[in-house]
């Protein structure tokens, strides 16, 4: 089990919430800053390059991002990230619902 002395890193989850959805072999994860003041930080930390780099084995295609500035949200589209999609993947989570928390689990300070 992990050491209690370990410094707890700040996570994306500390400033944002997220939901993942699937269409075919593509996942989208919308990430929303709780507080408008954190939106710039979120945008700086969470880039398509960062996400692609964090999960090299899971995301086989490109990652795109759409900004929803007025609602303080980012919508990431992860191509070829569901091992074929809900009816082809042998992953227990064949919808890729856990993508939301995989991304919220990234550290704010890389």
């Amino acid at each position: 089990m992990s050491s209690v002395l370990r410094n707890t890193p700040r996570l994306v989850r500390d400033i944002a919430h997220a939901r993942a959805g699937d269409k075919g072999n593509t996942s989208n994860v919308s990430v929303w800053a709780y507080d408008a003041a954190d939106y710039d930080l979120l945008k700086r930390v969470l880039t398509p390059e960062r996400i692609k780099r964090a999960f090299p084995a899971l995301i086989r295609g490109p990652v795109e991002c759409y900004d929803i500035e007025h609602l303080h949200g980012l919508n990431f589209v992860l191509h070829d990230a569901l091992e074929g999609g809900v009816n082809s993947s042998l992953n227990l989570d064949s919808h890729g619902k856990s993508w939301s928390y995989l991304i919220l689990g990234l550290e704010l300070d890389e």
């Binding site: 919430h17 939901r19 269409k23 075919g24 989208n28 929803i68 082809s88």
Partner: protein, 448 residues
Amino acid sequence: MNASVRTFRIGTGAGFSADRLDPAVDLVEHGNLDAIVFECLGERTIAFAHRDRMANPRLGYNAHLSRRMQALLPICRAAGTVLITNMGAANPRAAAERTIEIACDLGLKGLKVACVEGDDVSGLVPPDAPFMDEQGTLSAVGMPVVGMNAYLGADAIIPALEQKADVVIGGRFSDPSMFVAPLAHHFAWDLMDPARVGAGTLVGHLLECGMQVTGGYFADPDMKDVPDLARCGYPIAEVDADGSAVITKLPGTGGCVTPATVREQLLYEVHDPSRYLTPDVTADFSRVTIASEGRDRVKVAGAGGTARPDMLKVTVGLDGGFQGEAGVSYAGPAAQERGQLAAEVVRERLAEVHGLASDLRIDLIGVSSLFATAGLWAGGAQDVRLHVTMRARSREAVETMLWEVESLLCCGPAGGGGFRGTIVPSVVTKSLLIARQRVKPKLEIMVA
């Protein structure tokens, strides 16, 4: 638009095939609804429905249809609420006939059930049709087709409402179209007006997953707490003639409707927010405004759109053979190492003793299953489960996998226990496009 046209009250009674029934009953009894939608079909569930229909031509509709209809038909009739659903799945006719049977049993004489078919386009797609978003064609994929369904729009549902159907049952209705249809019918919207249809599509999109907008699928303790989640209520939209709406739920139900629950749902399964394709419209959600109007009331406005696409999406179900899952658990010191050894044993024996090269995946639940190949944890887990998944053309190959996993009980690493194994037929799905004019919805009204 006639400003005196009253607000339309529409709710959701299911946001997926296995969604809860008791909150739907509560909503119809107390919601004073004009219409309620049961959205019960996804890429996964239509594949399962085709599998069921292959096994029995009288089946292939939603497994919970009978219990839902028994509970809802009497109260929907009493409340004057129209019920619209895609519970027909791969067999809308059988679903409508079963609904009529239930209405007769309940003495609901004269109840009108509209059966909408025509989404099954199996005969209309040429074998060289290319897949959407991936390489390959139908004929080259090497798996027999078990079903093909085009996404039908609001134009397939409105004729049933014009004939004053009490219940509208179809198969692959697109999810938001089941909301757009009653709104367009009530407000006399022109289906070619993308501004109105885009606004209606936003309402449908927010409501189509049921409680995903009222606090379901939202709770994250200490960060996003949701009151009384076990008693979460389904959503209601109070829609105005311009398509703007207040999203709310019944007083006294659990859950919450807040700007945060609404925005999470806003982009659920959406890629480009300014171009969300449905059979009805190319919807634009990029400028939607979301504002709290008091407790559990959120106003949404500003959705728009451009012309509907010329092509309709088709989900193709292909016979993928069989899929098996099997597991054994390990606990205590070195559980992770023993589980990893078990995985190596299974892998070696399937390949070298049985010559099975089928799709195989081995996870260690508690260490790395959903993260899979991300490899985030180094070791030391004390409660793990070996989980083996395999798909193969032949059932016997999958049975061999289950046998091998069970054999670990005596032949594998120390301390393994709790074998379980299941085998189900596998339906793989792909998407392609069809010109909309080739798809002809068919309506039949059945009367109890």
